[in-house]
Structure formats: C-alpha cells, structure tokens
C-alpha cells in the first residue's frame, strides 16, 4: 500500500499530463464538473460528486460515428475510433460501478467500438468517499462509498495524505513509476478503514433481497413527473442514444452522429407512421424505473442504478429513486 | 491585431427578409433602375414582414450571417392591414434581446421600404453593409463554441 501527500496530487496530475489526457474535477460557477485539464484549470478535491456524470467522457452527449463522402457516385464511409490514452482522476466509486454497467451493455453481443475505445484506453483513479452527500445511497447497491474493483487506483482521504491502493497492473505501474508515492504505514490503513466505516454508517441500508418494483407506487410518482430529460442525461448508467445523419447540401458529404436520447421523450419509441407502442406518460416513467430496477437486473445481472443521487438532487418535481426503493422493500 | 486584419477586405453576409408587396418590389425596382448597391444582401422573399419569426433571424446569425435585414411595408400600408405592426413590436424586442446576449443590435435592421423606393432600398443596403463592415464579422458559431 502506498500514499501520496494531498499537495502532490496536482503535481502528479501535471506530470501525467505529459503522457496522458487527464480528466479531473474542476469547479465551474461553484459546482464541480469533470473536465480535461488544461492550462489554468484549478483542480478541486473537495466535492461530493460531479454535476454531470462521467459517462460524458465515455459515451459523450454527442459524437460522430462515421463520415461519408460522395464523389463520382461512389460513397466512402469512414469511422474514427478513439485510442487516446487518458487518465480519469477523481471518479467516485458509484460512478466506477456505473461504468461497469455500461461495459456490460457495450460488450454484450456486438461490441460498441466507440465506447470501448475510450474505456479501454482510460486509466481510472477513483476517489473513495469519506463523507456521503445528502442524496447519496450507494450503500443500498453496495456500489460505494468504498471500492474494491473496477478502477486502476483507489485513493482514500486520510487527512494530509491519500492512501493509494492499486487494483490493476497498470495502476501499479503508474504508482511505481512516479516519485510522489511513498510507503503507507499500518496506521494509515487503519485510518482509512475507520473513515470508510464511519462514512457508510450514516447511510441508507435496505435489504434488496425483498425488493420488487411496486407499480402502484411508481404510478403515483409518475403523476408528478414533468418528463424533462435531466434525470436520464445526468445519470451515470443511462446509455440510450439516438442517431442522425447530417449532410452538407452542396458537397453531399456528411456525418452520422449519435447523441443521448431520453426515454422520457414521447418520441423515444415512436416510429414512422406515428405508431407508438409506449403511449402515455405513465408508461414512459414506468419504463425508466423498471429498466433501472428490474430489466437491467434480469438481463445483465446488476441493478441499473448505483445510488449516486444525481437524479434525486436534480428532479424538479422532487421524485426520489431512493423512495421508490424504500417502498419496494417495505411492500 | 488579428481581428483588425480580418476586417480588411471583409465582405459582410446579410440575410434580407423582404416582404413580397413592398420591400421585395422595392429591391426589384432598384435592380431594374440599375441603381448600384453592394451584393452583400441575400434576399429571401416572404409574404409579410410579420411572417419573419425571430427564429429565422437567430438561425441566420447562427449559420454565419453578419447582419439580418427585415423589410416590410410602411406603417398603414401593409397588404394584410396590420402585419407590419406586429413585426415592429416583435423586432424591437428581439433587438433588445440580442443586445443583452452580446450581439450588436445594429446587426439587425428593420426598415419599411415601399415598392417605389428603389433608390432608398439601395441606400439602406449601402449603409447597412458599411455599418457591418465597421462592426466586423460576427462569427457567432465560432465565438459561442470556442469562446473566442
């Protein structure tokens, strides 16, 4: 086990910037976002979690999936896959688990090369939580506040230092190749252990063995839903996207873009000819909840929610995923 | 310094929405009377100045227009009786909005030009083109996306 001095973290990231693109938490208008570190960006280490989830760096809000060009009746199609080496610093355990969920979607059957190109070339340095946020409920899914797999390195705040645990060979190489890490003592590990225990103590605990989605409760909540897309867009596990072609009318060259879509959108399931198998607002809301708490588990063996609390924090109608979980267990 | 250099030889792109009954005919007259005016204005014929949705203006700016011109009938001359009265209110408001958002309101020009005012139409386009040359390129897309 190693440790790194708090002041050295920024130095480490600056050093890593020479070899990698470094993504880290920065403050913008008083709130925390992940951003590719550039000159003048100020790293912040004091945050519960980012406003927008890290998925933006793996399954971006919009991306080009291919370019096409036409000349002499011949159409050429090309793609462009990312192989840029990146380090993602400060990702929280819940969001690491969310990436594992996205992985299972991207790897099932045909692989998604755009997502996996980014994913496989990104080193994750996770920052464990030692103090839960108001809306956090990762404890319910066991997706935090501590982390044992999914990242390359895990940092734990132990005061002036971060305790550093490497979970992969690549993580280990990074640590051994840098001068900023020093040997941790048994006392450091003890402190970290205590902090982890302390953190989880105050958090929600639910026995999900008894859980099933209570559709009556969900219907009741659906009444309040205003069907904006904020919960799905900031969610670290929502992966749905739409695809559209854009073309220059003169050259007839263009691109095919994919971008986040939301199941809250009435046209999400609408087909040409206006048939919509999921008509009605309750149906859409129900699908979102069922997708997270039932379908994902049935299909991929994991819940589609990691308890990051972003949707609760942002829902303008005060709809709480945690409340739906509680009611589903209570029943 | 670069911005200044960019201004040299800069030819502004103007999208002009011209009402079918007055301004478009006015522009036509300017043409048939062989009155010279700069070729910077690209005319879009609309049935009435009130057909112009603020969206059209903003979209033009987004797509690279340096200025937008809206031409309608003189007050009390609207072919549809009162279309230009609504247009007048609408674009007064839009000018204030774009100014608040950081676009010089002088880039949006609303004028009432009758079918007989070919010379006036030419004069307005000359003036507007000159004004835009002084203001320089808008480059809204670049400035919004890259924060230049």
């Amino acid at each position: 086990m190693k440790k790194i001095r708090e002041d050295d973290v920024i130095k480490l990231l600056n050093e890593l910037r020479k070899k990698y693109e470094v993504i880290a938490p920065v403050k913008l208008d008083g709130r925390v976002y992940f951003k590719t570190l550039g000159e003048g960006d100020v790293l912040t280490l004091d945050y519960v979690n980012s406003v927008v989830s890290p998925k933006d760096f793996f399954l971006p809000q919009k991306e080009r999936i291919l370019e096409f060009s036409e000349s002499g009746g011949e159409v050429t199609v090309e793609d462009e896959l990312s192989s840029k080496k990146r380090v993602f610093f400060g990702i929280r355990p819940c969001d690491v688990n969310a990436l594992l969920i996205l992985d299972s979607v991207a790897r099932e059957g045909f692989e998604d090369p755009y997502y996996l190109g980014r994913r496989d070339n990104t080193l994750l340095i996770s920052l464990e939580c030692v103090e839960p946020g108001d809306d956090c409920f990762c404890s319910v899914f066991n997706t935090g506040p501590s982390l044992d797999e999914g990242a390359d390195l895990v940092f734990t705040d132990i005061g002036d230092f971060y305790l550093v645990k490497s979970l992969t060979d690549e993580g280990e190489r990074l640590v051994s190749g840098s001068e900023f890490f020093r040997k941790a003592t048994g006392g450091d590990e003890e402190t970290a252990g205590k902090k982890r225990k302390e953190c989880v103590k105050g958090m929600e605990s639910l026995d999900l063995r008894n859980f099933s989605v209570d559709e009556e409760v969900v219907k009741e909540k659906a009444k309040r839903c205003l069907y904006c897309y904020s919960c799905t867009f900031i969610c670290p596990t929502c992966y749905c996207f739409d695809v559209v072609d854009r073309m220059d009318l003169y050259s007839r060259n263009g691109e095919r873009m994919r971008f986040w879509d939301s199941c809250m959108n009435p046209s999400f399931t609408e087909m040409a000819g206006n048939f919509n198998p999921r008509d009605g607002m309750v149906g859409r809301f129900m699908n979102r909840i069922n997708h997270k708490l039932r379908y994902m588990r049935d299909r991929y063996g994991v819940y589609g929610c990691v308890g990051c609390g972003r949707c609760i924090r942002n829902c303008p109608a005060g709809i709480s995923m945690l409340e739906i979980l509680r009611e589903g267990v209570r029943k | 310094m670069e911005a200044k250099n960019k201004k040299d030889g800069f030819e502004p792109r103007i999208v002009g929405f011209l009402c079918n009954w007055c301004s478009y005919a006015g522009a036509d007259l300017a043409g048939t009377s062989r009155i010279e005016y700069p070729p910077n204005l690209r005319a879009v014929r609309v049935m009435c100045s009130s057909r112009v949705n603020p969206l059209f203006v903003l979209k033009a700016f987004q797509e690279g227009a340096d200025g937008v011109f809206i031409g309608g009938c003189h007050p009390q001359d609207c072919h549809y009786m009162e279309g230009n009265y609504y247009a007048r209110r609408r674009f007064m408001l839009l000018k204030r909005l774009i100014e608040y958002m950081g676009i010089n309101p002088g880039r949006l020009r609303v004028e009432w030009v009758s079918a007989s005012e070919g010379d006036r139409f030419a004069k307005i386009v000359r003036e507007f083109t000159g004004d835009l040359k002084r203001l320089g390129p808008l480059d809204l897309r670049e400035r919004v996306c890259d924060g230049i």
Binding site: L28, W260, N265 | R96, V144
Partner: protein, 283 residues
C-alpha cells in the same frame, strides 16, 4: 403543529373535498425532508398538506393535465401563471378554485433563498377564490442587473460559457407552466431548427429562441433556473425579456386577465414613437 396559514389551508381543502366542490386539491406535501407537489383526492389525506418556505414548485404546470375540478394552492407566481394559462385558454376558470397564499420567499435545502424569490415583485396572489393567511408587503422595483454593465463582447462570452454547460435536457422547458405548446420548436424534426447532434451554437439558439417565446408570458417564478442541473442563470435572460416588454409595451404578464398578449397587439402612435426612440438608441 403547522402554521396558522397551513392549518387554514387544510381546513379549506378539507371543506372543498367534503362538500364535493372539487375532485382534487393540488398542493404541497412532505416526502422525507423534501416538500413535493401532491394531488389530494380525499378529505382523509388533507392532513398531509403543508405550507412553508420550501414550497418552491409552480403548481400551475400540472393544471393542464388534470381532469375534473381542481383546487390549487397558489402563491404569487403560481397565480400569475394561472392568469396566463386562462388567457391562453389552456385551463377553464370554472374548473379551478384558487387557494391564494402569500409567499415570503422560498428557500433551498440549505436555507438559502432562491434568486428568483429574492427579486420577486409579486409575492401575493393576483387572483384567488379563497385567501388564507396574511398578505405580505411587496418590493416596488426591480434590481439592477449586473450583466447590463458588461460590454457586448463580455456578454456574449458570458452567455456562451453558460450555454456550453447546457446538456439539452429541456428541464427548463418542461417545468415551465407557460411552455404548453403541443409541438415544440426546440424539438421539431422537419425542419430541424436546433439539432442535438450539433455544436454549442445550437444551444445558444435554443436559449435565445426560448427567451423570445417567454416574451409576454414569463411570470418569473424561477422554476427553469431551479430545474437547470448545470445552473444556467436563465432568469437573467427571461427577466430581461419581461422588463423589455414592460418598458416597451407596458404589460406585465400574469397580472391582468384583460391584458392582450403584447406581441399580438399594437398601438399605432405609441409604437411609432417607440420605434423612433429605439432606433436612436440601438440602430
């Protein structure tokens, strides 16, 4: 427990439901530590109603979807939204019983007053059938907008930076009681004015368009700003539009059922003068 106003509110709600005057009471309830909008259909549930300084939601947004006769709890901004909905014939007056309450400004979880509430000019409801509690004093004038002191270049930079954060979730649209169009230009497919697949200039366009649509409608409840996950100060933009409409056309939205929508009206002489003035100022 509960304040006098809250108790009075419960009393009225219970009465209305018991007598069968309404099918539903639209108000606020608690869920855990949160205050949420709630739909109460039987006298037995009325005890769940609350009235406190956390009742931020503009309940008018739900009215169009509700069936039957509804009693709605309305503070200043809710009532102004109702006025606009009535003007736009989106709800029927006889289907509504407005339970007016005065607002002292809503606060967030940390107890900090919301920006839109800090500058609110109409805390008392402007229409109601029943009023509960006490009226509060109103501020007379708008605050000076600090953005006005920026240069054009700085303003464009400011807004661009804000809009680049936008994730296009349209929460600002969906929470808005005034955004009731069946087909929204922001999501129109053919022609696609604003594309999700495009660059940030689309977001600039999106917010500019939305601001133009707020003219003569916005009641400055601030729901859009609260709903925005990335804290875009939308109320600056919409307040500016409201202020312009007031200055130019002398209409404040949501205040009077008789007011004509300012952009569907004109005043020949006055508008000609205004045009002259504006031209001198803004070219």
């Amino acid at each position: 427990m509960g304040s006098d106003t809250e108790n009075a509110l419960k009393r009225e709600a219970r009465n209305l439901l018991k007598k069968g005057d309404v099918d539903l009471v639209l108000g606020y309830c608690m869920e855990g530590d949160n205050v949420i909008p709630c739909f109460i259909s039987s006298p037995g549930e009325v005890d769940g109603l609350v009235w406190n300084n956390r009742c931020k939601n503009n309940l008018a947004v739900y009215l169009r979807e509700l069936e039957g006769r509804v009693a709605v709890v309305a503070k200043g901004c809710d009532s102004r939204a109702i006025v606009e909905l009535l003007k736009a014939k989106q709800v029927e007056r006889e289907d509504l019983i407005i339970l007016g309450v005065s607002c002292r400004g809503m606060v967030d979880k940390e107890g900090e007053e919301y920006g839109s509430c800090r500058v609110c000019l109409h805390r008392n409801p402007v229409v109601y059938d029943l009023f509960v509690g006490e009226k509060v004093s109103e501020r007379e004038e708008r605050d000076v907008d600090e953005l006005e002191s920026l240069s054009l270049r700085e303003r464009l930079e400011f807004w661009s930076k804000q809009f680049r954060k936008c994730i296009n979730c349209l929460a600002c649209r969906n929470v808005c009681p005034m955004c009731f169009c069946e087909e929204c230009v922001l999501e129109k497919k053919d022609p696609e004015w604003i594309t999700r697949a495009g660059d940030a200039s689309n977001l600039f366009l999106l917010h500019a368009i939305k601001a133009t649509h707020m003219a003569g409608r916005c009641v400055e409840c601030g729901e859009c700003e609260r709903a925005c996950p990335v804290d875009i100060p939308l109320m600056h933009l919409y307040s500016r539009v409201c202020r312009d409409v007031e200055e130019l056309f002398g209409v404040e939205s949501g205040m009077n059922l008789e007011d004509k929508p300012p952009l569907a009206a004109f005043d020949l002489e006055r508008d000609a003068m205004l045009e002259e003035n504006e031209k001198n100022k803004r070219g």
